[in-house]
Amino acid sequence: MGEDTLLSFVQNELQIVVLIIFGTLYAVKAYQISRRPAPPQGGVPRAGILGGVAKSYGMTFVPWMMESSRTHLGRWLEYAVYHLGAGSAIAATFLFPFAPSWMVPWVRYTFLVFIALASVVGVIKIVRRFTRPELRVISTLDDYFSLISLEIWLLTAIPAMTLNRTGMIVFFIITAGFLLYVPFSKISHYVYWFFARFLFGVKFGRRGVVPRSGGA
């Protein structure tokens, strides 16, 4: 198989197959959650749920709404950079094969900066997980593996952003493997996040806690 053919295969056919598997696994997960009973909500609502749901999603994106981010601004910035980098790498896996004309130099180099910064944060996170007693106590093999494999994936994304063909092939092969592992690992937290934030917003919104409302 020639290099271009191989690149085309890992970018297209391979990605499509693993994305179908990935999507199917998430569809099953979403179905499994939705067949559970919704938590009952009782009592005359103090406020509407819309405000609660909106603020619930919003509080993740701004550092001042939670004490855990307000008092650890550096940690929040790490979190923002890490997710921005991972998001850039994910976007690249779609744009390279399906909208290559969008991958103009400034887009690729912007992604590259985000991904490089995220990989630096990734190293910090790995070191922290190995060295902090309070994190070691709660860490599983999946935690270590997920962090390290995500770091490797981010590092392989860097040469891919420069259009280095070998780098791109390695990046897409690792992406495929990663897509197969993610639905089984803690990296899948982002799917549950949508459910959890919604449920949080409904409960605390109608009680007038998040946001504080209803006059009491």
Binding site: E134, A196, V209, G215, A216
Partner: protein
């Protein structure tokens, strides 16, 4: 039946209960939602006080989550060691008693500070339900819940004695108000409010003074608001206890049930219990503090702003505040009686638990841990420089009094109604 069989049956019941509790919130929170990022760790008053990584919110939740994962998580079913999953054992149940009762007050501070909104209280609540099913709940909580249920079943036995006690308290109300016609009305049909107190004169006399001074149409009944079934996460017991009040309110045809200054009773009757019944209730539920706030806002109740000249602060009970949404009503009332109000930092939905929530106040065997876990609250109070601390929850007040003694805070602790009653009787 052999001892082994009994243990196996208990374990089975615990497993079934864990499964039964698995609603959408729990299914998500007990899944891979938690990334073990550790943001929750230093939001917990237990961790703040001890720096013990084994009692951080995520570490506590993980003790239950790993059991759910073994049953429901794809990877954990095949490679449990990879994800830390494990099958529930008898030993785990014994460990969970400490995790769910001694080491967590279900205050939900970790949840409002979790970027992923993991509901740790619900996870540990499921553990409490499983322990209850296995017959491993703290005995004192079971006894208190059963005593509340027995009170309804043996009402004839209690009624005469209770009415005599109320008559004594009525005299005290009359004396303090200087009004011989002041009443503590019992079982009055068609009253506007059914006030449900706690056990103890301190939750009856102050509101009686306020209601009489306001000329309110109110009544009491034979039952108190405390619901220890909630701490056990025992739906059957909780519902029976709440049902006594629902039946009384319905029988008397009141418009509203007014709950004493009690965190768990308020959140139970205001938000939780309505979901346990098939039909909507024909009455509203409010806290006594909300009613007093209404009197103040409507200009019916005139308070003296110089009643408390010393610095005063307010402790947000987790159940009234973070879980119940009541933040401003007590502050508005206190603004009317104090010249130097100082909020604690943090406050409202970010308040720190006093360390006695989740029924821990009743479990004397863990008093040491309760006082240790209350240290961050004691430090908070100290930092305000307040000499008077107000709390609208009876369990919090007990704990704050103990913290006051233990950490030498030099404060006085009152409830909102008590302070307002003092203001009214001072005049």
């Amino acid at each position: 039946m052999s001892g082994v069989d009994i243990k196996t049956e208990a374990l089975q019941r615990a497993k079934e209960e864990l499964e039964k509790r698995l609603n959408r919130t729990l299914a998500v929170s007990a899944s891979n939602l938690c990334t073990h990022c550790g943001w929750c760790i230093d939001t917990c008053h237990y961790y703040k006080a001890t720096k013990d990584p084994h009692i951080s919110p995520v570490a506590k939740a993980e003790k239950v989550r790993r059991i759910y994962k073994k049953e429901h998580d794809w990877l954990s079913k095949v490679f449990p060691k990879w994800t830390g999953a494990k099958e529930l054992t008898e030993k785990d149940l014994d460990e969970l008693v400490e995790v769910a009762y001694r080491n967590c007050t279900m205050c939900q501070r970790c949840t409002v500070n979790c970027p992923l909104a993991v509901d740790t209280a619900q996870i540990l609540g499921a553990a409490r339900a499983a322990l209850n099913a296995a017959g491993k709940s703290p005995e004192i909580l079971v006894q208190l819940a059963d005593a509340a249920i027995a009170r309804e079943e043996s009402m004839d036995f209690f009624k005469e004695f209770y009415l005599e006690q109320i008559a004594e308290l009525e005299k005290e109300v009359q004396e303090r108000l200087g009004n011989p016609s002041a009443k503590i009305p019992m079982e009055v049909q068609g009253a506007r409010f059914l006030y449900v107190p706690l056990a103890g004169a301190h939750t009856i006399v102050p509101p009686a003074i306020v209601f009489n001074a306001m000329g309110e149409s109110w009544t009491m009944s034979m039952f108190d608001a405390a619901n220890y079934g909630v701490y056990l996460n025992d739906r059957e017991r909780s519902k029976k206890i709440a049902d006594r009040i629902v039946k009384e309110a319905t029988r008397l045809g009141v418009q509203e049930v007014i709950v004493a200054e009690c965190g768990h009773a308020y959140v139970t009757l205001r938000w939780e219990a309505p979901t346990w019944f098939d039909k909507p209730w024909p009455f509203k539920v409010r806290s006594l503090v909300e009613v007093i706030d209404e009197y103040v806002r409507e200009g019916k109740l005139h308070l003296s702003p110089d009643l408390v000249k010393e610095p005063l602060t307010y402790h947000d009970s987790c159940n009234l505040g973070r879980n119940g949404g009541m933040f401003e009503a007590p502050r508005r009332v206190l603004a009317g009686v104090a010249t130097d109000f100082r909020d604690m930092n943090p406050n409202r939905e970010q308040n720190l638990c006093c360390g006695a929530g989740g029924g821990l106040i009743a479990m004397e065997e863990w008093r040491d841990m309760r006082l240790t876990a209350g240290k961050p609250k004691a430090d908070q109070i100290k930092a305000t420089g307040a000499k008077v601390v107000i709390a609208s929850c009876d369990n919090c007040r007990h704990q704050l009094n103990e913290l006051n003694e233990h950490y030498d805070l030099g404060v006085q602790v009152f409830g909102v109604a008590e302070l307002v009653a003092n203001a009214l009787t001072k005049e």
